[in-house]
């Protein structure tokens, strides 16, 4: 890039140093700390360390073959992958529609106290996973029994169980906690998108007698579809990277019995090792690479199939 800038610029004016000065810090930091390490991950996944001699050698795609076909890896890997899809689907079904509903209610023209609601609902998004994980563990634990007491008060006490401690309920419970935490993001973005719909469009709709719910579904929802698209892809990328919530509530072993294991936790265990297994950076790199391709595939699907179909209206 530098050289071409130099040759084309030489013909006309002195070399535009200021462009280089403006661009260089961002490009250098980004390339050195983000792009090169990502490339390094791809490279590492093609090597393996010999357990006896400790010599590192090229093994080609062997790590990937192990991940997909070696019984030791296949079970845990596809378990984590399946869990991750479940986690994502829960967010798409709950977090985003509820976020849109809240935003739609907040954008009602006359609604006193909307700032308070907005702040309260956005609050969990600001909290760290350590707090979120721990407080929900407390609330749901049979030991403290806040939830048990509350459920008893409304007459469903018999339904209480250690939600985080049972294989059947743990992942669903964690998905709901994560939805609780991040609902503020779709809410904020959709709220902003709704506010920026021009007055004239709404007035025109009202003149045509399109009001209330019909107005929302026939006009506003269509206009904010691009924002919903962006939120969906952000949800996808975020969910396939999830790690912290599982780590802080269930530990690196993603208990009970790996029922809450996600790609992020299996990556952590593989890379650093955990009680039952020694750390294996090369295998970890292979998992990270697979995650990279899953996310890339998701983003590509979004860009080529979804975003193209979305019509952007000039506002």
């Amino acid at each position: 890039m530098q050289d071409t800038t130099l040759t084309t610029a030489r013909k006309k004016k002195p070399f535009p140093w200021h462009i280089l000065v403006f661009m260089a810090p961002a490009v250098i930091v980004y390339t050195a700390i983000m792009i090169l390490p990502l490339a390094e991950t791809l490279r590492l996944s093609l090597f393996q360390r010999d357990s006896v001699t400790q010599a590192v050698s090229w093994v080609g795609l062997e790590n990937y073959l192990r991940l997909f076909f070696d019984p030791f890896w296949v079970g845990p890997f596809f378990n984590a992958l399946g869990n991750n899809f479940f986690f994502f689907v829960m967010h798409m079904l709950l977090q985003n529609p509820i976020g849109i509903l809240i935003a739609a209610l907040l954008s009602m023209v006359h609604l006193p106290g909307k700032k308070l609601y907005r702040t309260a609902i956005f609050m969990p998004t600001l909290l760290s996973f350590v707090i979120v994980g721990f407080v929900w563990k407390l609330i749901l634990s049979p030991l403290w029994g806040v939830s048990k007491g509350m459920m008893t008060d409304v007459g469903i006490g018999h339904l209480f169980m250690p939600f985080l401690g049972k294989e059947e309920t743990a992942l669903t419970t964690l998905s709901l906690i994560s939805v609780w935490q991040f609902i503020g993001i779709p809410m904020m973005l959709i709220y902003a998108a709704l506010l920026s719909i021009p007055e004239e469009v709404i007035e025109a709709a009202e003149c045509d007698g399109v009001t209330g719910l019909a107005q929302f579904f026939k006009i506003k929802l269509i206009l904010i579809l691009p924002t919903i698209g962006i939120i969906s892809i952000l949800t996808f990328v975020g969910n396939f990277n999830a790690f912290d919530l599982i780590y802080t509530t269930q530990g690196p072993l993603a208990g009970p019995d790996f029922s809450t294991d996600l790609l992020g936790t299996i990556l952590y265990r593989t890379f650093y090792g955990q009680q039952t297994q020694p750390g294996d950076p090369n295998m970890g790199a292979a998992i990270a690479t697979i995650m990279f391709f899953i996310i890339l595939a998701g983003v590509a699907v979004y860009l080529f199939f979804i975003q193209r179909k979305l019509t952007r209206y000039e506002m």
Binding site: V29, I33, M34, P37, M123
Partner: protein, 281 residues
């Protein structure tokens, strides 16, 4: 007709309040639970977790434990240092690059923009292996710089993406006038453009700040030493160590909530303004 419409609005308004209030209560319940119980005796925490502290159950033992046994003031300083440092570089470098991309025509302008935007979609966490190797090689492990550099790289793509949209909206006449007055390109950027895109900078700041302040992954891997531990990592370790000291844990968590609350209150007005003006364009 006017009357019936007003009445219908009142009904729908009430329903809106009911729904929003429900969600607000669900959102706030755990936070309030932590805060009220952090001021109570251990006995009261278990016996009546939902009640407010009164003269009998009020107890500050949790807070005294946190301040005497944990290194919380240090962790707090570390978190502030890392977050503010990263934010500074993300906003400065991001705004500079965004300005260059939106203001000047140069070869590979669009390609560079695309290259930088790539990072929005790819989580930096997947490069952890390479980052760790790099930090070990440059002896930056267990320094604040390791975290600041990583978070800067992480925050730049989104910052550049959002800011270049905004920079494009700054009036061309203004910049032209500045050039006629003999301002250098640097003065045009720092004195004319930066003040005009302040709401955008606030939006970027909030969205960059939240994940940095709350991150557990990189502090755990790059800077786990006692001297560089961040508040999030410190709280995680503390919660693990004091697993039965409920007073201390609740107090530690209450303390970790406060800074975020303060920061959000400062930025929230600019955040909404930045978001909406960004969407209108």
């Amino acid at each position: 007709m006017a009357i019936s419409r007003a009445r219908r609005n009142r009904v729908s308004e009430l329903m809106a309040h009911a729904i929003l209030l429900t969600f607000a209560v669900i959102a706030m319940f755990p936070v309030i639970l932590i805060i009220i119980n952090s001021f109570k005796t251990k006995k009261a925490i278990f016996k009546s977790p939902l009640s407010l502290p009164n003269a009998e159950s009020f107890d500050l033992v949790g807070y005294t434990t946190v301040f005497t046994q944990g290194n919380f003031p240090l962790y707090f300083t570390n978190s502030v240092l890392v977050t503010v440092g990263s934010l500074f570089f993300v906003l400065l470098f991001g705004a500079m690059a965004a300005f260059a991309l939106s203001e000047y025509k140069f070869p590979f302008n669009r390609l560079t923009g695309l290259y930088l935007a790539l990072g929005i979609m790819i989580p930096i966490r997947l490069g952890t292996v390479g980052i760790l190797t790099l930090m070990v090689a440059t002896k930056l492990v267990n320094t604040h710089w390791a975290l600041i550099l990583v978070y800067t790289a992480q925050g730049l793509p989104l910052a550049i993406f959002i800011l270049s949209e905004f920079m494009a909206t700054v009036s061309k006449d203004l910049k032209a006038a500045g050039r006629i007055d003999g301002l250098s390109e640097y003065s045009i950027f720092f004195r004319l453009v930066v003040p005009l895109v302040r709401p955008a900078l606030a939006t970027v700041a909030v969205f960059t700040m939240i994940p940095i302040w709350n991150d557990l992954w990189f502090p755990l891997i790059l800077a786990p030493s006692e001297a560089t531990k961040t508040l999030t990592l410190g709280a995680q370790v503390f919660v693990g160590q004091f697993v039965n000291n409920w007073n201390a844990i609740l107090a530690a968590m209450a303390l970790a909530i406060i800074p975020v609350l303060v920061l959000y209150t400062i930025f929230s007005r600019q955040l909404i303004r930045g978001l909406t003006s960004g969407a209108v364009k």
